[in-house]
Symmetry: C2
Subunit: 122 residues, 2 copies
């Protein structure tokens, strides 16, 4: 069996909605997801999973309760479990995320129109 190649640009082209991470690969119980982000998100944390962000295009600001960092293309960030954070992108940015299977994008925040299905593949 020869595993298939996953092309990030091709997968991104299939994503039309913002703030709606789509799964592209799974390794054990971790999932790689792609998402397009623009504007402000909600404060939240993930009680059970660290969350890795890798910026593929554009710029992502990650707000924390005690400061913020800005990531550009080719930069990554690990948000540890339980740490409150809020992504923000002035213009649309494209990110790859690694989180545990079943993780909601809005984490422990109340469900809102920003809450996306956690189990959709693209």
């Amino acid at each position: 069996m020869i595993p298939g190649v996953i092309d990030l640009s091709e997968k991104l082209a299939l994503i039309t909605e913002q703030w709606s991470p789509k799964i592209i690969a799974q390794i054990e119980d971790y999932q790689f997801k792609l998402a397009k982000l623009e504007g402000d998100f909600v404060w939240h944390s993930h009680p059970d999973t660290d969350e890795v962000f890798i910026v593929l295009k554009g710029q992502l600001r990650m707000d924390f309760r005690d400061g913020a960092v800005t990531l550009t293309e080719g930069q990554m960030l690990i948000v540890p479990k339980t740490v409150e954070h809020k992504p923000y992108a002035e213009s649309e940015c494209h990110v790859m995320v690694l989180v545990q299977e079943g993780t909601l994008n809005t984490g422990d925040a109340p469900r809102s129109d920003r809450t996306a299905s956690s189990d959709l593949w693209v």
Copy 2:
């Protein structure tokens, strides 16, 4: 606590040896590693871990016993545990790899001059 940004290009610039993956981030018991590859490697498999390859620069051919795939920048591949594989790069290519902590680059193959330490950070 504000997590630090990890810049892939900066980390790659610190890697001088080929075939010597260096850890840049850890999430639970999985490690992100960066490596520069050129030429041929050894056939091996990893009995206990899937292995994710993401090509950051150049071109990587992954040989399997029943065929091969070629990845270019922005493409990824998951090599399932126990599947024999052999990376090959005609010119130097840069990859990000995700594997379980403690995984040897040469897997179950006999130790050789291609076998690198599995626990070095950059």
